[in-house]
């Protein structure tokens, strides 16, 4: 089994506080790795470190080459697509403009694929992204991440704050996506995680506390207690 991304001894400091303390992680090619952990343990920090947003030390090897010293945009051009935690759509820009920003020289934009996955967006191309619902914004954000082909798709809590029906839609899309891509995602919704994960990683205090395959998710009650996530957040997925 090949690994797409290898992380060794990742230390990340934000301001004066160290968030990640020497973290090791392998993301297997063609599989979906789901990261879990209590609020504030550093899941987003891990994703942002991989993307090069945060100063960090340690080795990041992506498809055999080191990412050291590369700025964010070059890491993305190497083939890492990013769908951030709070969707981060450009609210004042139209849906079409949001998508156009994701186009890249030398890569074919896959508009048919995106509109197949999100037929709703096709109707709303001229609408500003800020006027969309949370679920629709999440779709724009995912569509941006999928528009050009990548080797690793990083998705941070795609179902956070969405209505149960929309959670279902998002999970359905990601199920389709995971068939063709390597996925690294944060997902606290255990039902959703259960549907998507091949590998599971649990973070604690800036380190890996536990890794394993999807069977970790079997003991849902225990995990839920540990993560202190409310059950009500998971309605809609079964």
């Amino acid at each position: 089994m090949t690994t797409t991304l290898t992380i060794r001894g990742l230390h990340t400091t934000i301001g004066t506080s160290q968030i990640l303390h020497g973290l090791d992680l392998d993301v297997a090619a063609g599989r979906t790795t789901v990261v879990l952990g209590r609020n504030g343990v550093g899941k987003t920090t891990l994703m942002r470190s991989i993307l090069g947003y945060l100063d960090h030390t340690g080795e990041l090897t992506f498809r055999g080459a080191s990412l050291a010293g590369l700025p964010t945009h070059q890491r993305v051009r190497r083939g890492i697509a990013y769908v951030p935690e709070n969707r981060d759509v450009f609210a004042g820009l139209t849906v079409a403009e949001n998508l156009r920003l994701a186009e890249r020289r030398g890569a074919e934009p896959r508009y048919e694929l995106v509109f197949d996955l999100f037929p709703e967006l096709k109707q709303r191309l001229a609408q500003t992204a800020g006027s969309l619902s949370g679920g629709q914004q999440q779709m724009v954000s995912l569509a941006r991440g999928l528009l050009v082909e990548s080797h690793l798709l990083i998705v941070d809590e795609p179902t956070k704050g969405l209505a149960p029906r929309v959670v279902k839609e998002v999970v359905a899309v990601l199920r389709a996506v995971r068939e063709q891509s390597t996925l690294l995602m944060v997902e606290q919704n255990l039902m959703a995680a259960g549907e998507l994960a091949d590998d599971v990683v649990i973070l604690s205090e800036g380190r890996i506390a536990k890794t394993g395959d999807r069977r970790i998710l079997a003991n849902r009650e225990e995990l839920r207690r540990y993560l202190s996530v409310a059950r009500s957040a998971e309605h809609g997925v079964d």
Binding site: Y82, F90, R100, L101
Partner: protein, 296 residues
């Protein structure tokens, strides 16, 4: 009645000068989070290149003035390009304070260069007669200089809006004003846009330098200082990163200032502008056209 229109014209042309400086600053700040204190000095520095150009031509012809305006604009752009490349770029990772000090340092050096080259006393700008006079517009005498500055500001606005709305670079700038990090996350090198926007701001400041001379007719090493301050006020009132807001605020500030100075008492205009600013902050901290939630 004539005075009223005259003041209207001066108010608008002062506002136009504010806009020329503020539009660039607003984009620079919106995109890069850099507040450039060098732009006042950039205006001054370019203005002196306009004076030099006029003197080089000898005769104050319209052609010479046009050449001076072009030279001034290009000097502003070139200096801004170099400043961004050599001094600002190493500072992006270092936060506001360092960037601010760098632009302040550059500002001091530019002004000192002007003082060393031309002395601290005012240098007059020779103007062709057809520009220093007034023309009859529907029965009202309007100074040509006012028409020139207002036209320049409107042209710049139209040009910038077209750039922002119709080009990919413009799209990147608009997205970057909202969230530069996310633009990077889509594989785009925002630093290139930074350089471009800073240079555009420099070009606009250079244009403002020449046109400020058309309006005040003499340059001093501190020509740009007051314009810079009012440009800041205009940016805040208009809403940071919004050019239409900046345009309206520039006109508003220019007009209030000139009308109050004339009809109330000298200096009342400055206080009125300040009152406008305070009122705006109390009622709408994000400015006229600024987005809520993005109060920078």
């Amino acid at each position: 009645m004539d005075t009223f229109f005259l003041i209207l014209a001066t108010g608008l042309s002062v506002g136009a000068l504010y806009y020329l400086l503020a539009s660039g600053l607003s984009l620079i700040f919106g995109l890069m989070d850099v507040l450039s204190f060098a732009h006042g000095a950039l205006l001054t520095f370019s203005a002196y290149s306009a004076i030099m150009t006029m003197n080089w031509f000898g005769a104050a012809s319209t052609g010479a003035l046009l050449a001076a305006i072009v030279v001034s604009t290009l000097v502003g752009g070139a200096v801004a390009f170099l400043v961004e490349w050599l001094f600002l770029r190493p500072m992006y990772a270092r936060g506001h304070l360092s960037q601010l000090l760098v632009t302040m340092g550059i500002g001091l050096v530019l002004i000192a260069a002007v003082t060393i080259g031309f002395g601290p006393d005012p240098r007059s700008m020779p103007l062709p007669d057809n520009v220093s006079g007034s023309i009859d517009v529907f029965g009202v005498l309007i100074p040509v200089s006012a028409l020139v500055t207002v036209a320049a500001a409107l042209l710049l606005h139209a040009g910038l809006m077209a750039f922002l709305r119709r080009t990919r670079h413009g799209l990147i700038v608009r997205a970057g004003v909202e969230n530069a990090d996310m633009v990077r996350g889509l594989g785009i090198d925002v630093a290139k846009s930074f350089a471009m926007v800073f240079t555009i701001g420099g070009l606009a400041a250079g244009l403002a330098g020449a046109l400020a001379l058309v309006y005040v007719r003499a340059g001093t090493p501190h020509l740009g200082d007051t314009y810079l301050i009012y440009a800041f006020i205009v940016i805040v009132i208009g809403g940071i990163g919004s050019l239409p807001g900046t345009l309206i605020a520039a006109a508003l500030v220019g007009l209030s200032q000139q009308f109050a100075n004339h009809y109330l008492t000298g200096g009342a205009g400055d206080l009125l502008v300040l009152a406008l600013l305070a009122l705006m902050l109390l009622a709408r901290p994000q400015g006229l056209f600024g987005k809520t939630g993005r109060i920078v």
